[in-house]
Structure formats: structure tokens, C-alpha cells
């Protein structure tokens, strides 16, 4: 069927990136647009985009999204458009994340897109006291338990998994990176950007972080023809939370877990913070991945060391 079409170099078919206006999406675009035709899909506008990329400011669930795939001119779909906004209602979340992604997979199947890449997260495994120190790709996805926000991500991941096994013609790749640090606006980066970082009294789990550009590199490797499967993406060697804060020169306050939980719960209700209280488990228990497979199959090597990766959260302050 679509075997010989993914020759490298002279392929003028496009790479569709959803959620392109996110900070990671922009970085990926900047890395890709010179060597491939890039089509962006996002609800948001992309004012400062490179001139050679085509951007569609649409809802992923709309009919217009389908038209982009219709011509058969798409060689890869990179799905970064996972919404993680704890303020939105569960229905919105589900409809945007899971339903939209199911539509996209349907288009990919119907119009023979040879490659689908989903940027999932190591959060799907969930932080748990009985986690092995490094989770492999076979570990069960237990992250959904207490976290309604991660439930969608797990749903998405499972959708992509079943797609991966069902359609041999499409190379589906699921990347599960650990905490992505950088100018991105995700919970771990925002947490480390705090001036005074709250910690849980008596807990000091090991943390695994990865630089945003290493994730971009992993995404590019995932686009290599012939690659399919699920890959954990780790970064430099793990570090304890206390040491990480020390390296960043942050001052920390230790709060007993019960107090912290109640406080964050209240602050979340008052819209002072956007950290949902159950996510405190991420600074309580270990949730790290074994990325041996990504290293051996993808050839992935994190280029940024621990200090660079941690410092990346502060980069924007100086720009």
C-alpha cells in the first residue's frame, strides 16, 4: 500500500503539526520547516510564523481539518495538540482531546498518512509509591487514577496504541517524555519557575527531566521512516528534587502533605494557582522512565546535561 512513498529528501508532502502554536510546536516548526513542508493546525493564531509554513486557524474537530488530509499530500501527522487545562470542564477536555484525536486518526487511516506521531507523556504511568524506579513501556498506565486531567491523556495514548496495532500500513509512534523543561508552559516548568518552591515535608523523590529541545530531537527521530512503536524519552541522569532546587538556586519551603493538599485545593478553587491538588503526588512519589528503547531504536541521546536542562526554565527571563 504506502510502503515506497516515504523516501527522504525530495518528499514534498507535508508534515501536519497540531497544536503548533504551543511553545514546543513552534520549536519543532523551526527545526523542521527548512527541510519539509509544514502545515500547522491550531485554534490559536500563529502571527510570527516562518513564511514558508501554512497555518490553519481551525478547530481540529471541524470539517476543514479533514480537507487538509483529503488530497493525500500529507506524509506525517504530529499531534502536539493535547490540551491540559485544569480549568476547563471534563466534557470540553474529553471532546477536544479524545474526540478530536479520534477524528485525526480516522483521516490518517482514510487518506493513507504513512506516519502518525503522538506526544504523550510519562505522566500516563502516574506517580506511585510502588513504582519501579524506571518504568518501561510495558508498565500499566495507572496515571488516570486520581487525576481527571491525565485521564484524557491516558485515553489518547490508548487510542494511539490500538491504532498502532490495528493499522500496519501507518507507522504510529507514541513518545512518552518525562517532565519537559524549558520555556514551555507546563506544570513542571512553571513549578520550577516559582521564586519560592513549595516541597512536601519529608519527601524527596528522584526526578527525571528532559530539555524541550531534546524532545524536539526525539520528535524528529520519530519521523524517520521505518520507526514505529512506543518510546519513553528520558533526559540526563535523574536527580532528587532537593538537589534540583539547589542547582537552580531556588529557596524551598517544606509543607506537610495534608496541609499542602488542603491549601492547594483551596487556592485552586480561588483561582490563585493552576496546580490541581492531586498533582502534588508528582513531588511525592517517583515517576521516571527507562528510555533504553528510544536510545537503541530511535538513536535518541539527550544533548543537554542536567544543569542546562534545569536552567532552561529561566531562559525566557533573559530574552
Amino acid at each position: 500500500m504506502t510502503v515506497a512513498v516515504t523516501t527522504s529528501g525530495a518528499d514534498d508532502r507535508a508534515i501536519v503539526i497540531t497544536g503548533i502554536c504551543g511553545r514546543l510546536g513552534r520549536r519543532l516548526t523551526r527545526a523542521l520547516h527548512r527541510e519539509a513542508r509544514v502545515i500547522g493546525l491550531d485554534r490559536r493564531a500563529f502571527p510570527d510564523r516562518p513564511r514558508d509554513i501554512e497555518h490553519h486557524e481551525i478547530d481540529l474537530r471541524s470539517r476543514r481539518a479533514k480537507d487538509i488530509f483529503r488530497g493525500g499530500g500529507v506524509r506525517a501527522l504530529v499531534h502536539l495538540g493535547v490540551m491540559h487545562n485544569p480549568r476547563d470542564s471534563t466534557e470540553d477536555h474529553h471532546s477536544w482531546n479524545v474526540v478530536a484525536f479520534q477524528h485525526l486518526l480516522e483521516y490518517a487511516e482514510r487518506y493513507r498518512v504513512p506516519k502518525v506521531v503522538l506526544l504523550s507523556s510519562a505522566n500516563v504511568y502516574g506517580p506511585r509509591p510502588d513504582n519501579p524506579q524506571f518504568l518501561t513501556e510495558e508498565a500499566p498506565l495507572l496515571g488516570a487514577g486520581p487525576f481527571s486531567e491525565i485521564r484524557d491523556l491516558v485515553g489518547l495514548d490508548m487510542c494511539a496504541q490500538s491504532y498502532l496495532w490495528r493499522y500496519a500500513a501507518t507507522e504510529a509512534v507514541i513518545l512518552r517524555p518525562s517532565h519537559i523543561l524549558g520555556t514551555v508552559r507546563n506544570a513542571p516548568s512553571n513549578y520550577l519557575r516559582l521564586k519560592v518552591v513549595p516541597r512536601l515535608l519529608g519527601f524527596d523523590p528522584m526526578m527525571q527531566v528532559v530539555h524541550q529541545d531534546d524532545v524536539v530531537a526525539a520528535l524528529r527521530l520519530a519521523l524517520t521512516p521505518g520507526i514505529r512503536g512506543i518510546f519513553n524519552v528520558g533526559g540526563p541522569p535523574p536527580v532528587s528534587l532537593s538537589r534540583a532546587l539547589q542547582m537552580l538556586g531556588r529557596s524551598a519551603v517544606s509543607v506537610p502533605h495534608g496541609v499542602a493538599r488542603a491549601a492547594v485545593d483551596r487556592l485552586f478553587k480561588w483561582r490563585v494557582t493552576d496546580f490541581p491538588a492531586p498533582e502534588l503526588d508528582f513531588i511525592r512519589y517517583v515517576c521516571m522512565v527507562d528510555d533504553a528503547l528510544a536510545r537503541s531504536v530511535l538513536g535518541y541521546r539527550p544533548k543537554h546535561d542536567l544543569l542546562e536542562t534545569l536552567r532552561a526554565v529561566d531562559e525566557e527571563r533573559w530574552v
Partner: protein
């Protein structure tokens, strides 16, 4: 005039007192230094440095072992190892230099035996090694305990972690008797409970030599007359040992028995890790029998529980 005199006298006293205080302080420092050397040995700092080299310079231990915390913990354990229990260590040269699985008998109501095996490998082995034991999963939910265990190299007991530690070339300590061993009543002292099979599967799978370890002296540290089942059920803990000394005010410390730790010769096992339980059980029986023999010989050679 009067007041000046009084002041001068006071200054005089102070002038004499300062050197005296300094002399006292110096003497105290000498005494603590001496105690420290006696306790920790002359080469303590070198030993700590060797560990630092191993763990810090390899980019940090992925399980969170922290040399500075471990150094402090070693100072505390040293008191028990050298002075309180006056541990005698035999055959420590039997422990091979690479990955190794120490399999020991478990006893004494409170798992002090694990700490003593750990301190033996730190204070008496050349080069010093860190013993990684597997701790129960629920300890990870306890504040302070979880952080402390991480920093002194203890690891949550799941098979993946054990495998990874052995692949890193670490010393892993296993008590195949589990909780049944540690909570034995006094009349069954030095009689081994049935062994679990997990350690054998792990050793075969990772091609790791097993060193049998016999710990003598822990059984007598707390004399347990039996298990109060209803109390254990009430508190939702596995066992509630009836230890008379616990009810005597000020006698909660373990009895100062003398610990004797025997390291046996390494045993290697071939075969399939996914073999039938019956096949593995034979190999496990061999290890159990070896430890049992070591205990018997050790007990026969022992003159006194306390000396």
C-alpha cells in the same frame, strides 16, 4: 573605687577562665576525636571518599543514594556495630567485587541485622561497599522515612529495581524468610523459616553469585515469647511480638548481645529463570541448607551470647 576593684577582680577571673575554657574545649575535642577514631576507624574518611568517587562521579545514583547522608548514618550505625554489639565479621573476603546477592537469615524483631550487615560491608570490606536492601512498598508513603531510605541506598522492593541494581554491579541484600523470620519467637531461634523463591529467580536471571550470610546474635537482642494475634489484628500490622523487656521502663534498647556475621563462599546457579517452582525450590533449598549449616557451626563456636 570599690566598684573598680570588683570589676578588676572580675576581669582577672575572666582572664584566667578563658584559657581554662579553651583547655577544656581542646581536651573535649581530643576526647571526641579519639572516640571518633575508635568508633569509625582511622580510614573512615577514605572509605567515605571511595563511595563518593563511585556514586558522585558516575553522575549520581539513580535511586537517590546520597553519600553525605549515608556518611552521617554510618556514624550512628558505627556505634552499634563497634561498641554496642561489638560485631565480629568472618569471611568478608568471600564477597566478590562485582554484583552480588547477599542472602541472610532474618531475626531479632527489629531489623537491626540489615543495618549490621550493611555496616560490615562498609567498615570491614575492602573496598567499602554499599548494601542495597529492598524495603517494603508502604515505606515510600511515609514522610521522612521514604526520603531517608532513598538517601541511604534502600530501594522500594519491586523486582525491576532489584534487577537494575544488580546490573549496576551493586550489593543486594535479601531476606528470603521475610517478616516470618524477623518475628520468630525465642523458642524457634536460629531455625530458618521457609525461603521464598524470588531471590533465586533474580540471581539466575541476572547471572549473579549468591553469598550466604549467617547473622548470629540478633535472635537474642529482643526475646519474644510469642505473637499476640489480636493486638496485631487490631493495629493492622503483621505481627505483635510479646517482648517482656518492652514493658520495663528504660529497657527498650535491644540487649547488648555480640553480633557475629559469617559470610559464606559464593554460590552460582545455572538454569532457566522461568523454570518451574519445584526446580527452583531445590536450588533454594541448597542455599537455605548452607545458611543453616553456617548458623549451626557459628553457634557451636560461640562461647557466650554477650561476650
Amino acid at each position: 573605687m570599690e566598684s573598680r576593684n570588683a570589676l578588676a577582680r572580675l576581669a582577672d577571673v575572666a582572664g584566667n577562665a578563658v584559657p581554662l575554657a579553651e583547655r577544656l574545649r581542646a581536651a573535649a575535642r581530643r576526647a571526641t576525636d579519639e572516640l571518633k577514631t575508635r568508633l569509625l576507624g582511622r580510614d573512615f574518611e577514605q572509605r567515605a571518599a571511595i563511595l563518593k568517587e563511585r556514586y558522585v562521579d558516575m553522575g549520581g545514583d539513580p535511586f537517590g543514594f546520597d553519600v553525605a547522608t549515608a556518611r552521617h548514618a554510618a556514624m550512628v550505625v558505627a556505634f552499634f556495630h563497634r561498641m554496642y554489639f561489638r560485631t565480629e565479621v568472618f569471611g568478608i573476603g568471600n564477597v566478590p567485587s562485582g554484583r552480588v546477592l547477599l542472602v541472610a537469615n532474618h531475626s531479632g524483631q527489629v531489623p537491626i541485622d540489615a543495618a549490621i550487615v550493611g555496616s560490615s560491608m562498609f567498615f570491614d570490606s575492602n573496598p567499602p561497599r554499599v548494601v542495597r536492601a529492598m524495603v517494603d512498598r508502604w515505606t515510600a508513603t511515609l514522610p521522612f522515612v521514604s526520603a531517608f531510605f532513598n538517601r541511604v541506598g534502600q530501594v522500594v522492593g519491586v523486582p525491576e529495581n532489584a534487577r537494575r541494581l544488580l546490573e549496576m554491579g551493586e550489593v543486594l541484600l535479601a531476606f528470603p524468610e521475610g517478616i516470618r523470620g524477623v518475628s520468630k519467637p525465642f523458642d524457634r531461634r536460629y531455625q530458618l523459616e521457609p525461603f521464598g523463591l524470588g531471590f533465586m529467580r533474580l540471581a539466575i536471571e541476572t547471572n549473579t553469585p549468591i553469598v550466604p550470610v549467617a547473622v548470629i546474635g540478633a535472635e537474642e537482642q529482643y526475646v519474644s515469647l510469642g505473637n499476640i494475634k489480636w493486638a496485631a489484628r487490631l493495629l493492622d500490622i503483621p505481627v505483635f511480638p510479646l517482648v517482656p523487656q518492652m514493658f520495663v521502663p528504660g529497657a527498650q534498647m535491644p540487649l547488648p548481645t555480640r553480633y557475629r556475621v559469617h559470610f559464606g563462599e559464593p554460590m552460582s546457579f545455572q538454569g532457566g529463570a522461568d523454570d518451574d517452582d519445584t526446580v527452583l525450590a531445590e536450588k533454594v533449598w541448597l542455599v537455605r541448607q548452607t545458611i543453616s549449616d553456617m548458623l549451626r557451626r557459628g553457634l557451636a563456636a560461640r562461647r557466650s551470647v554477650f561476650l
